[in-house]
Amino acid sequence: MATHLPVIGGHAEGFGKTHRTDPWKSGPAITLIVFLTFIVYTTWAALQGNHYYVEPYLSPFYSPVLWTNANIENVAGAAPEHLAWFGTWPSWWPGFIPISPALLILVFPGSFRFTCYYYRKAYYRSFAGSPPGCAVGPLAGKRKYNGETKLLLIQNLHRFTLYAALAFIFLLGKDAVEAFSKGGKLGIGVGSIIITLNVILIASYTFGCHSFRHLIGGRKDCMSNCGKATVTSGAFKKASWFNARHMQFAWLSLIWVMVTDLYIRLVSMGYIRDFNTWN
């Protein structure tokens, strides 16, 4: 076998160096901007602990509400006690941690997206420059590369974050159903549509998950029953449809969950009015 060294052939060497003439930087740059916007907004919104509920809409960042504030009249846009699973915030809650239901929630969808096979491509390219683009010099230069064999072995637990993500589809679905009922009266508002669209996009993203596709059938070499369709082969085909659009649903759901929180926040703050059939 011929040895590789030295590398010759006129190839550019160094971070970001390439002979490519197409706009390869635009993809990683857009990813970087959208991700940073999402991270900054989500962190800010999660730390607020207010304006996340305006009847009948609950922000997806704060769902499910595990604990809520004891005196909600003092906290604008906080969920009422009957929506909280465990009532009001416990007295043992450490004082240095902000009282915000979102802090207990976001680790689950956050870890699902962090370990997602699509997002790995996005952030390895945009944040780690490993590599920043195809046939483009890596950020790490010629330092040793370990891939996902050392610290990033954690990525192999993606399927466990999937289990939590599947539970969240039901939780957010319940919120979407409740968004069509205010004070016991059925109706519809712009917020109901936004919240419903949010759970549809998140479900579409989750059902396209590579781990999901593997667990429901992909792990088998033989999915049919003598060539006849089975539940397994049908589910695998449907998951494959979502999987082929995993990137699109990843971005749409990421942006839409932010839009949903922002909408509810602005309605709660009184900056915009929710058009609905109740008023």
Binding site: G9, R20, D22, Y124, P131, N156, C226
Partner: protein, 262 residues
């Protein structure tokens, strides 16, 4: 079409440089046609590999304007009228001459993979499998072995190729996938996949999929499902405990490890 400026890397294993050629380009030409015109009129000794001119033999792989592509499938009208076109050999493999590389690295990787081991024939002496079950692996059979995916894979390509001993590369992950997912195959290559072929070295940046001229879902349909099978075997604590409780045994050692134990 007017004359176009081409920069073609010329040299051998000792070194080389870009040479410029101004070439008349006619409508309908692809980059390979232009390189043949250069060969005919300006540089008779220009070395390049080609065969079918139809994107099916995988011979004319090179880097055109920095992107790994087949020269026969890269149409000249895909470039702007004033763009200089740069042609280089693939970076991942050692240069023999000009645009021709020594791709024997790939043949060595192929030899490492245990071959197809079918289950016994049915009573009537036939093998039976169903289209529904082989749809997945048929996609992998489209591979023309152009090695563009091997070339663009940053694990093999960067760091002067030092990691070439640690990862078998996307083309051969696909070959492993075509065997592992085959409904008739009975062999087990999962321990080798993790410990010898370096499935963990792939960080799913999908460049292999982007450059594949056959549009094979290398990452989504081949590498990731294999990584998930490695998770089943080595990293999923629930699956590992479940197997222990049910007394199900699976291979976790490679053939080399098993032989070493003996």
């Amino acid at each position: 079409m007017a004359k176009r400026l081409f920069k073609v890397w010329r040299g051998n294993a000792e070194g080389g440089e870009f040479k410029e050629f101004e070439v008349q380009v006619d409508p309908g030409m692809v980059v390979l046609d232009v390189l043949h015109r250069i060969q005919t009129h300006d540089a008779n000794d220009l070395a390049l590999r080609w065969n079918c001119k139809a994107g099916k033999c995988g011979s004319c792989s090179m880097e055109i304007n920095g992107k790994p592509r087949l020269a026969c499938m890269t149409r000249m009208n895909s470039f702007s009228d004033t763009e200089t076109i740069t042609c280089q050999p693939m970076k991942t493999f050692p240069v023999i001459k000009d645009l021709v590389c020594d791709v024997s690295f790939n043949y060595e990787q192929n030899k490492r993979i245990p071959k197809f081991k079918p289950k016994p024939r049915d009573a009537d002496g036939q093998y039976r499998m169903y289209q529904e079950d082989v749809d997945r692996v048929q996609e992998f059979r489209k591979c023309i072995e152009c090695y563009l995916c091997q070339n663009v894979c940053h694990v093999l390509r960067d760091r002067d190729g030092r990691e070439q001993q640690t990862f078998i590369g996307p083309r051969f992950m696909i070959r492993v996938a075509s065997l592992e997912m085959h409904p008739l195959d009975t062999d087990d290559r999962i321990p080798e996949l993790k410990k010898e072929y370096g499935s963990g070295m792939c960080n799913i940046t999908r460049c292999c999929t982007e450059v594949c001229p056959e549009h094979i879902g290398i990452t989504d349909n081949g590498i990731i499902p294999l990584k998930e099978r490695v998770v089943d075997r080595f990293y999923d604590p629930v699956a590992i405990i479940g197997r222990k409780l049910l007394g199900r045994k699976v291979r976790t050692k490679t053939r080399a490890e098993e032989e070493g134990k003996k």
